[in-house]
């Protein structure tokens, strides 16, 4: 596996390059539904969500988390992530644009791998937090 960055090149406190994606569309939601086999009506059925008191269909939390994972893989390399954890705190809707930012909080060596650990935040275009996350990735 190839890391995109070297251990000696990163410092605690460094920020990951931000990832901005959107505005998201219903077609994006349907495409993820098929790819991930997530067919809850919450994500495509307008009468269903209105009956549930929501203004619109909802972007799957794991769709947003998947887009946000690029924040780590763009930086550390594909296949380098060792732990990826997300907590969903607000919904994302069609029309929203998400921004993922991240910061390195720790670097250490364990069982032959050199690791970075960090925090991630995903916000919508109003700056409201949708996801709080954390990651661990191997670096070269």
């Amino acid at each position: 596996m190839a890391a995109a960055v070297g251990y000696d090149d990163v410092r605690v406190g460094d920020e990951l390059p931000r990832v901005v994606i959107g505005p998201l569309t219903r077609q994006d939601i349907v495409q993820y539904a098929g790819a991930a086999w997530d067919f809850s009506p919450l994500h495509y059925d307008q009468p269903f969500v209105e009956a549930a008191g929501l203004p619109n269909v909802v972007v799957m939390g794991m769709f947003t988390a998947g887009m946000a994972s690029r924040c780590v893989t763009d930086f550390a390399g594909a296949g380098q992530v060792r732990d990826y954890k997300v907590r969903f705190v607000a919904r994302i809707y069609p029309g929203d644009t998400i921004t993922c930012t991240g910061k390195i909080t720790r670097k250490f060596e364990t069982s032959g791998e050199r690791m970075i650990e960090g925090e991630l935040t995903v916000t919508n275009q109003k700056g409201e937090v949708a996801i709080n996350g954390s990651f661990r990735a191997a670096v070269g």
């Binding site: 596996m1 190839a2 098929g34 919450l42 939390g61 994972s69 690029r70 594909a78 732990d83 990826y84």
Partner: protein, 154 residues
């Protein structure tokens, strides 16, 4: 009341091949243009194989449904709930061509007081994934939440 007797209940062993078509489809859906997922020559040269995106194991649900739907197993109503948290620990590399086997287990069930009264139910589902060599490659942890029943609308 939550029924804690469900804790420890475990699915049968499921299995799935890691297919390039599915990895490409998933990478495109999450808008990740990384050539590691899209270009097999690049992936072989740079990564030693086609890796998977960090959240790709979400697709393993397709191999479990309808037999194991944790909400039904533990009588949790997901239509009045949310996916609260998700974690993937990726212990060893997973490449296209691998064949994974896994079980899902009810790791915990508990309840807390909701902010607007009533009880919120929490279930923690843990998946343990192994490759074709019997090596553990991943652990998934999902926290599912059911909200208190809504008051009837007059």
């Amino acid at each position: 009341m939550v029924d804690r007797s469900f804790i420890g209940r475990t699915s049968r062993t499921f299995s799935m091949p890691i297919e390039w078509g599915k990895v490409r489809e998933f990478a495109r859906a999450i808008k990740d243009p990384n050539p590691a997922y899209l270009d097999s020559d690049f992936a072989a040269r740079v990564h030693g194989g086609i890796p998977i995106p960090p959240t790709f194991l979400m697709t393993s649900m397709a191999w479990e449904i309808p037999e194991w739907e944790s909400g039904r197993v533990i009588e949790l109503d997901y239509s009045n709930g949310v996916h609260g948290e998700q974690e993937f620990q990726l212990l060893r590399p997973i490449f296209v061509g691998d064949v994974l086997s896994w079980t899902q287990r009810i790791a915990d069930i508990h309840e807390k007081d909701g902010a607007r009264g009533g009880k919120m139910k929490f279930a923690v589902i843990e998946g343990n994934y192994f490759n074709q060599r019997g090596e553990q490659v991943a652990i998934s942890r999902s926290v599912m939440i059911e909200f208190p029943p809504r008051p009837a609308v007059a």
